[in-house]
């Protein structure tokens, strides 16, 4: 047991040898090694050396029996997690195959959904999902960005912390409970608003998006709940992005005589609009698949209407409502194919947003100076 561990140490020691002079030079202060390097590079150097050491140690440690087992075990866990995406795609595609074979992929764009008569058009659900998500984002995006600006740039730190805690707690509340609240509180409020519009002497009800009878349930109620659910995401990502804006950017604005608002609107927001775009993609991906709250307040009527007050149906809601009551295996397969759409769209949106945020983190490079 002793011999292999000594073997293991040797390459590690060999790897440690080259960086040793620069490592010891740091505490010595103005030594010859420190003079030869410019100061700013010093904090970066040990990081690079460490990875070299880590690699050496890792190579050495594979000789150790228990370590090899440990590495294999944890590696299997990691592979299982990453493999879950592939498993999800494979099973969802496999599950939707009977539906695709029966009526082809193009049938998705038909507006008729009637499983008992073998009609599986998904257009109404695609429309419902897109419409409610757009309503939700149209409310949550400006609200989230303005709130993030208030938290980072305007409000005192303590108050900002309390507000962000409150909004983060909102993210922890399960969708089904927001739906419960939606049924008993939000829908009556929305109905009152719709009655007001309906009776308004200005003829507001002739505007297409305000047309239809006031029912309370519908796109507007669903969109409002989605806005509540997207808000914490947009807020927290935007806040992170705003905090990464270097102080020099703010100082430059003030040096030019800008007011605080001008600094925010002309120097800070333009600096991080990519991050805000990434945040909105993440929020969008999140609201697309929201199921319970939407199912409880959207009215569950497959129809395509421009009115905010009309009831509708979304991809996730139809899966939730009809899956256990599906009349045939073909209907189950059709519902799984709707789930496949949700899966692929959410993977694409999330991947795009993450890539954007990663590039943004690299590009700005102002992290050390962040407030």
């Amino acid at each position: 047991m002793d011999l292999p561990s000594i073997d293991k140490l040797e390459p590690a020691a060999a790897g440690m040898a080259p960086p040793a002079p620069s490592g010891t030079a740091v505490p010595d202060g103005p030594g010859p090694a420190a003079q030869s390097r410019p100061d700013p590079s010093l904090p970066v150097e040990p990081e690079k050396d460490l990875t070299a050491v880590k690699h050496e140690i890792r190579r050495g440690s594979t000789g150790h029996g228990a370590d090899r087992m440990f590495r294999l075990a944890t590696g299997t866990c990691a592979a299982a997690v990453a493999g879950l995406i592939l498993v999800a795609i494979v099973f969802m595609v496999h599950g939707s195959l009977p539906a695709f074979r029966d009526h082809g992929i193009g049938a998705i764009l038909s507006p008729e959904w009637d499983p008992t008569n073998q009609k599986y058009g998904a257009l109404t659900f695609l429309f419902g999902t897109a419409y409610t998500s757009v309503i939700g984002m149209a409310i949550a995006l400006p609200l989230g960005v303005l709130t993030a600006v208030a938290l980072v740039e305007i409000l005192p730190q303590r108050l900002a912390k309390v507000i962000s805690l409150a909004v983060e707690l909102l993210a922890a509340i399960p969708s089904v409970l927001l739906g419960l609240w939606g049924i008993f509180t939000l829908v009556p409020l929305v109905r009152a608003f719709e009655v007001y519009i309906y009776k308004s002497p200005l003829g507001l009800r002739n505007i297409p998006i305000f047309s239809g009878s006031p029912m309370g349930v519908g796109f507007l109620a669903a969109g409002l709940l989605l806005a509540i659910m997207a808000l914490p995401f947009i807020l927290s990502v935007t806040r992170e992005v705003l905090l990464q804006v270097p102080t020099s950017q703010r100082e430059a604005a003030y040096a030019l005589g800008a007011t605080r608002w001008q600094a925010i609107s002309k120097f800070i927001i333009p600096y991080c609009w990519k991050g805000i775009f990434g945040a909105s993609l993440l929020g969008f991906a999140r609201v697309l698949g929201e199921t319970m709250a939407v199912t409880m307040v959207i009215g569950n009527t497959p129809q395509i209407k421009a009115s905010l007050f009309a009831s509708g149906y979304t991809l996730a809601s139809v899966i939730a409502n009809e899956f256990t009551e599906a009349p045939s295996n073909l209907a189950i397969s059709a519902l799984i194919s709707l789930g496949l759409i949700l899966l692929l769209v959410s993977i694409l949106l999330n991947a795009a947003a993450r890539i954007m945020l990663i590039y943004l983190g690299r590009g700005s490079g102002g992290n050390q100076e962040a407030k």
Binding site: I6, K8, L9, L50, H55, R58, S61, D67, F70, R71, T74, G75, T76, C77, V81, A82, L84, I85, A88, M92, H94, G95, L146, T147, V149, A150, I154, L155, I163, A166, V167, L169, I173, P174, S175, V176, L177, G179, L180, W181, F184, L235, T259, W261, Q262, I264, S265, L288, G289, E290, T291, A316, I319, A320, F323, G339, L342, L349, N350, A351
Partner: protein, 283 residues
């Protein structure tokens, strides 16, 4: 265009006022929700809620004993399966994998955590329910484990990442094998953070409803058999909320209050642990 100073000042104040208004609106939903929850739910939380089974439709009284136990069972077994795998994956990412593999795995977890929970339910349906030919508590746990895995990995990895490299190097300098360093040094130093991640991921899945619809399926009777359908609290709240009976609405609010106390309590507890941990690190 150059505007006068006073104009810019007034414009700035106005826009800042709008930002503050947005911040005010942003906190309204939470408090409106909590207000109604306590107002409606407080009166229906009584011992019967915890000790009685649901009554048939139309009869008053009854409780949610089966759903509370069912949720504990389903969430508990998902946690037992999900957390070791998640922590294992996070340890692999921080202790063994090269930087590019780590970031690829992190990317995969970020994408996974964005997959809608209903899709994870459909996946569990096909992986477990179809081969077994019936709905089961087991399939519900599998769905929840799928949902919690990326959350556990992300939070654990972030916490392990915060452990200083010098601690690991000290272990290596003593010739300690890597598995010992990971378990006795890295994980131990990050223990409060890892615990926080566990609490957060459990509270994330405790309220999941959509995947339960076609995995755990629900059950009006008391059942603790992992192979048969089982009631869960969020699913029962959903069924009761959309029912036409006032008494069921009352029970739904009571169940919602219990669930929120559990979830918000866990979230606040995890924040407190983290705050306490960071304070003890700084001092």
């Amino acid at each position: 265009m150059i505007r006068s100073h006073s104009f810019r000042k007034v414009q700035g104040r106005f826009m800042e006022g709008i930002c503050l208004l947005a911040a005010l609106i942003a906190v309204v939903p939470l408090f409106a929700f909590l207000w109604h929850l306590v107002a409606e739910g407080a009166s229906s939380v009584n011992p019967a809620l915890f000790t009685h089974l649901p009554m048939p439709p139309g009869e008053t009284g009854g409780g949610m004993l089966n759903a509370i136990l069912g949720s504990l069972l389903v969430v508990g077994s998902a946690t037992v399966a999900g957390i070791p795998i998640g922590i294992g994956a996070a340890v692999f990412m921080t202790e063994f994998a090269s930087p590019s593999v780590t970031s690829a795995l992190r990317f995969a977890c970020d994408v996974l955590s964005g997959i809608p929970s209903i899709v994870m339910g459909l996946l569990a349906y096909q992986v477990v329910v179809v081969p077994m030919h019936h709905f089961s508590a087991l399939s519900g746990s599998v769905a929840l484990a799928f949902i919690m895995l990326p959350v556990v990995v992300i939070t654990t990895q972030e916490m392990l990442y915060l452990v200083p490299h010098s601690l690991r190097e000290a272990g290596h300098a003593l010739g300690i094998p890597t598995w010992r360093i990971a378990s006795s040094i890295t994980l131990r130093a990050a223990a409060p953070g890892v615990l926080t991640g566990m609490i957060l991921s459990v509270s994330r899945i405790a309220g999941e409803t959509a995947p339960m619809l076609f995995t755990a399926f629900g059950n009006p009777y008391l059942s603790l058999d992992p192979k048969s359908p089982i009631a869960t609290l969020p699913h029962m709240i959903f069924n009761y909320a959309i029912s036409p009976y006032d008494d069921w609405h009352r029970l739904a609010w009571g169940g919602a209050l219990i669930l929120v106390i559990g979830i918000l309590g866990a979230t606040l507890l995890s924040r407190f642990i983290l705050w306490w941990h960071q304070r003890s690190l700084n001092s």
